[in-house]
Amino acid sequence: MNEIVKVVNLKKYFEVYDAKSLEKKYVKAVDGISFSINEGETLGLVGESGSGKTTTGKLILNLLKPTSGDIFLEGKSLKNLSKKDMKKIRKDIQVVFQNPYAALDPKMTIRDILIEPLSIHKIVSKYEYNNEVKRLLNMVGLSEKDMNKFPHEFSGGQRQRIGIAKAIAVRPKFIICDEPVSALDVSVQSQILNLLCDLQRELKISYLFIAHGLNVIRHVSDKVVVMYLGNIVEYGDTKSVFDDCAHPYTKALVSSAPIPDPKRKNNSIILKGEIPSPINIPEGCPFHPRCKDAIEICKTKKPFLRKVTEEHMAACHLI
């Protein structure tokens, strides 16, 4: 399969000024991550709040400049691109945001919202705008009568459908879905997830699916990346990551996911303490202060991703 997106040793440090010690410090939001996404494939990105998932998405979208590392789209580096080249690239990478209530401009009608990307990237001639808008609305399960309405006239699920229509309007190769269902109720969540899967099959789009919910990730992803404090702690195909997780953090995450079976014994692993500050990431393995299996080496040496199986890697000294 063709590789659509490749992320190589990507780092993003935010500079902060510590008023107490009068020193410059760095928030290591993303600290050297690498992964790739193939054509028509979904990569699930999972982790706690503050683990660097959204920052990774913004780096790929080029909304943030990476501190180091590189991102390749179909083998072409996104580093040091001119504005003109970047505009061309933007056509291929689109985003669906978490909050459908805030992601649509409240002063624009749905028609204007959908026409904007069409006109920027000259997808169709302006005589075909109306037909294209109707086609897009039908694709995401909305009526063409809705095109002259404003976003506030729609429900959350409908707004997210409009957000998806906007993303697919430019016929992208790759869409970043930044927690697209976490603001929606469960019944609407499944509709949106099914819609995303249908569109993927139809248009051969690749997704980077950022989410908190492990069940959602399991449902939509082909491969999964588990992030902790800006680092990848486990990476592999969905089945092996969820069924044979190797990293203690992934084990804790998987065990804490609720299973609707009252007879099943609750064996969830409760992690001790809070996620450390990304300004002061612990030395050695970043997870060692919360890991119940930590050994001496975990405190001094940072583990790198090691192969568990052919399609499965984890960053732990215990493997």
Binding site: L63, I93, Q94, V95, P106, E116, P117, I120, H152
Partner: protein
């Protein structure tokens, strides 16, 4: 229906306030010069009977309602005086409001960080400093600048007086500076707020140019907050008119008011004050209406 009732109630309350303001203003100016009172043998004794003051006040109030403004002490028709002065003040006020709005918007946009926080504090400082300057100083600086230009044979501005359009340039600029920086602060905050919104990030992701984002997405949404701040500048701008017209010897409404107070023509002074007050109410109401119209879709949603 509920909306219409609310609008009518709002208009009625505003008209009531205007009437109260008119009556109180006329009452104050109906008190004759040198009026005093004292208590003699436990009795309240005034130099002029109160019922006479009220009668005078009522007469002026009724004549004002009948649009019969009468004559001033010099025998000139007050309608003519007011009309002439009003034309000049209206030109001054409306031009300065437009100038303040344009300058304020541009300065506000340049002050806003728009994702880039370089020099943000400096930009804020350049907007806050003029707001804290007294109007007298701004007018004096304008005049000094005009004199400096004239000394170098550059006759763009007239230092004071009236007669030509050039005479109104400096007063318009002097009057617009304070509200312009006020609008700049509101604009800057509103623009910064909009830049954090996900729909702007989405627009960036779509490949919109920075100008398109600014005008199509940010300003369209920020303008609501900016227009909401406009009623506040009405009071700033009208109170400053008195200083600016006086310093530039500009024959507007407030100069006319000052002249009539100096003459001791209390009836005419009261009528001019009522006229200025009405102008303030109308301008303020107009800004409120624009602000409400801008907000109409949100109100519909809330209902």
């Amino acid at each position: 229906m509920i909306g219409q009732k609310r609008v009518l109630r709002n208009i009625f309350s505003k008209v009531l306030v205007l009437f109260a303001f008119t009556y109180i203003s006329i009452f104050i100016f109906s008190i004759p010069q040198g009026y005093s009172w004292e208590i003699i043998d436990g009795r309240f004794v005034s130099t002029y009977p109160l019922y006479m003051i009220i009668k005078r006040c009522n007469n002026t109030f009724i004549s004002l309602l009948e649009f019969n403004l009468g004559y001033n002490m010099k025998g000139k028709a007050l309608v003519e005086i007011l009309f002439e002065a009003f034309k000049k003040t209206a030109l001054l006020l409306l031009s300065s409001i437009v100038l303040a709005f344009v300058l304020g918007l541009l300065k506000g946009i340049s002050d806003s960080s728009r994702g880039n926080k370089n020099y943000a504090s400096f930009k804020v400082l350049t907007s806050v400093m003029p707001i804290s300057m007294p109007d007298v100083l701004i007018a004096a600086m304008m005049q000094s600048f005009a004199i400096w230009l004239i000394q170098r044979d550059i006759h763009i501005f007239k230092v004071a007086g009236s007669g030509t359009l050039a005479h109104s340039f400096l007063p318009i600029i002097a009057l617009s500076i304070l509200p312009a920086f006020y609008i700049a602060r509101i604009t800057s905050l509103a623009v910064n707020d909009c830049y954090k919104k996900p729909y702007v990030i989405t627009a960036l992701g779509k490949g919109c140019s920075s100008m398109r984002i600014l005008w199509n997405h940010v300003m369209r949404n920020a303008i609501k907050s900016i227009v909401e701040g406009l009623p506040n500048i009405t009071s700033i701008i009208i109170s400053n008119t008195l200083i600016v017209e006086y310093m530039f010897s500009y024959p507007g409404l407030t100069t006319s008011l000052m002249n009539h107070i100096t003459m001791g023509d209390r009836r005419s002074s009261a009528i001019i004050i009522v006229f200025i007050g009405s102008f303030y109410f109308i301008l303020n109401g107009l800004f409120h209406c624009i602000s409400k119209l801008m907000n109409i879709s949100y109100r519909r949603e809330a209902i």
